[in-house]
Subunit: 145 residues, 2 copies
């Protein structure tokens, strides 16, 4: 699979390294800041491309061949939303995932048919589970269960 | 339960509202920026406290009574780590959860016995699942399964 990842921050770099473990995957990581690529370490076998996700030129240069998965994982919701739209509409990428921190925008965007991941919602769910577990533990020790 | 939440950003405010739905919970939300409290809306029944999580004074003022759960959810890993340590060590809060965006620090901190949530790791897991699903779908349509 050809996989393009926009944003080489903590999340983008980890995802790139993980997906790069599979030799069948061809990974391209884009970031406007070349320093970010250091997060990939020296064993990363994919390609890196310095370019701004808010600039169409970037996509013209690397999306001309079929891309199977496009992941927009910068720290800026608007950039991710725009990039995912471009990948889906202009380059017909089948699987497009955008990171959207704002839960309200994430939901609106999902309704437009682009998959999102919302770290805020994921964290909220996790916290609820952790607290639920504490409550269950306490009611058990109180003899309620 | 008495629950103290440090940080009234997207995550902190959502968690406060959710936990506040249970009338048995007494919620106190701390933020150094009073504008942040607007995220709670006008129906929030808990208390708000303007104070800096990096300042011990803040805790002296609100942690003198027993706190059951302390959540450190600001956008700054170091503040969250410090706050969680104070809650656990000085105020003996039984359940302390800190948001730590950096996965490496999150793991180190978990080893010190404080529960963390790492939005980066949660997002990474979610992306892996979403891509795994695509792969399974494709191999099914290829007749591999």
């Amino acid at each position: 699979m050809k996989i393009v990842i926009l944003g080489c921050g903590r999340l983008g770099s980890r995802v790139a390294l993980k997906l790069g473990e599979d030799e069948k995957n061809e990974i391209i990581v884009i970031d406007k800041n070349s320093d970010s690529f250091s997060l990939l370490g020296k064993d990363f076998k994919g390609k890196i491309f310095q370019g701004d996700g808010a600039n169409m030129e970037t996509y013209n240069k690397i999306m001309n061949e079929k891309v199977d998965i496009f992941l927009a994982l910068t720290n800026i919701d608007n950039t991710n939303i725009m990039a995912a739209e471009i990948a889906k509409q202009k380059y017909k990428v089948e699987k497009t995932i955008a990171k959207v921190d704002d839960p309200i925008r994430a939901r609106a965007f999902e309704e437009l048919g682009i998959e999102t991941i919302c770290p805020t919602l994921l964290s909220e769910k996790k916290i609820n589970k952790m607290i639920e577990k504490k409550k269950i533990k306490e009611s058990e020790s109180d003899g309620d269960v």
